[in-house]
Symmetry: C2
Subunit: 243 residues, 2 copies
Amino acid sequence: MDARQVLTEFFAGGDRAFIPNLSVDCSILGFHDGELKVLLLRWRGTDRWSLPGGFVRQDEPLDRAAARVLSERTGLERIYLQQFHAFGGVDRREDALAPVFESLGIHVPADHWMVRRVVSVGYLALVDFAQATPTPDVFSEECRWWDLHDHPPLLFDHDDIVTRAFDTVRHELQSAPVAASLLPERFTMPELHRLYETVLGRTLDRRNFQKWIRERGFVERLDERKTGRSHRAPYLYRFAEAQ
Amino acid sequence: MDARQVLTEFFAGGDRAFIPNLSVDCSILGFHDGELKVLLLRWRGTDRWSLPGGFVRQDEPLDRAAARVLSERTGLERIYLQQFHAFGGVDRREDALAPVFESLGIHVPADHWMVRRVVSVGYLALVDFAQATPTPDVFSEECRWWDLHDHPPLLFDHDDIVTRAFDTVRHELQSAPVAASLLPERFTMPELHRLYETVLGRTLDRRNFQKWIRERGFVERLDERKTGRSHRAPYLYRFAEAQ
């Protein structure tokens, strides 16, 4: 069955399988080697981009819908996903949707369930982008990482969603080990330092950073260094159990 | 038109005016004179209690629906309401709803829009309960404040919603002036101290608390004391502008 058939069936009967007025959108932020990216989809037949997302199945918990989107678009499983905000503006979708469907060659009547108002619950995930396999969904023909600070304008209110996701991450770095999913289980202080510099987008004094991190108490130093080869090898750390 | 008529019409055609699968629930926490309370509704003809909440109108932004519930149930306007989490479990409502409707004398068929799955977006507000006028909605016959730590078990997943709202408040007290809505514009350090003790549910050493608050930088001391009568009158403070 080709994509057009899949979509035609989805448009015809999807409101039995899915909750019509509710979606999830995932801000999947990728970090690797000092770069910070966001995963975006290009919609079929257009040059317009959006976040990965989707409707919620009638029998599917909200969190599981978000986990399904994350895993289908990246191939990654058991990644920490955080719900951060529900986007409930009245006009958040309608202007953008009709031309996208037209470009897919599918006529969607004005009162169709697909073009009614949808409230979307935003989730965010932090992943190592080198380990993900970007995969388009049936609405899109390209799925790729973009620089978080240099990507095309997004469909719908997705620019707002990304901005708010990133604000949430930066805020949580102050108080919680949100970074845990971006580092191996055991890591060095220079690795953690680089992660914070990349996400916060600024240089952080090494000594002050180490002092600040130690005071927060969410990492603990192990009695072990990165390699056994040298006394100068950096100590390994791990995130402390949740307090 | 009596309540039964209103409800009968709502059940018959409410899914044209409201989004069927989406609601808001408001954890309205009330503080006054060292007491911390939560506003609850007793459903008609039952001894079962829930949070105030409601469906979202088709033409109403999500935040405005929550503000409408807050204002209709308390008479308070322009209160800071914070969205904190969307509750999207599959079975969060269905067990509890049928007996409530039966007790209202209204037959609701099993596939009726009112008893389908609803995802609810939780909002929280902190108010001075001495200034609110609790008012039941059409589903309920009593609306009153209960001690936050001593209230009846709640309908649906509302115990979870209250717990999470309170966790959010306690967490935010560590980093943000979420307490601003509970104090007059200018307040004394003893007033702020008492608020924190009440919300956190424990005694806080006066000196340590003052030091901690000053370090956080979200209040500023004014060049003014509470009364002009004595040099011992406490200084007045106000919350600093958002940083």
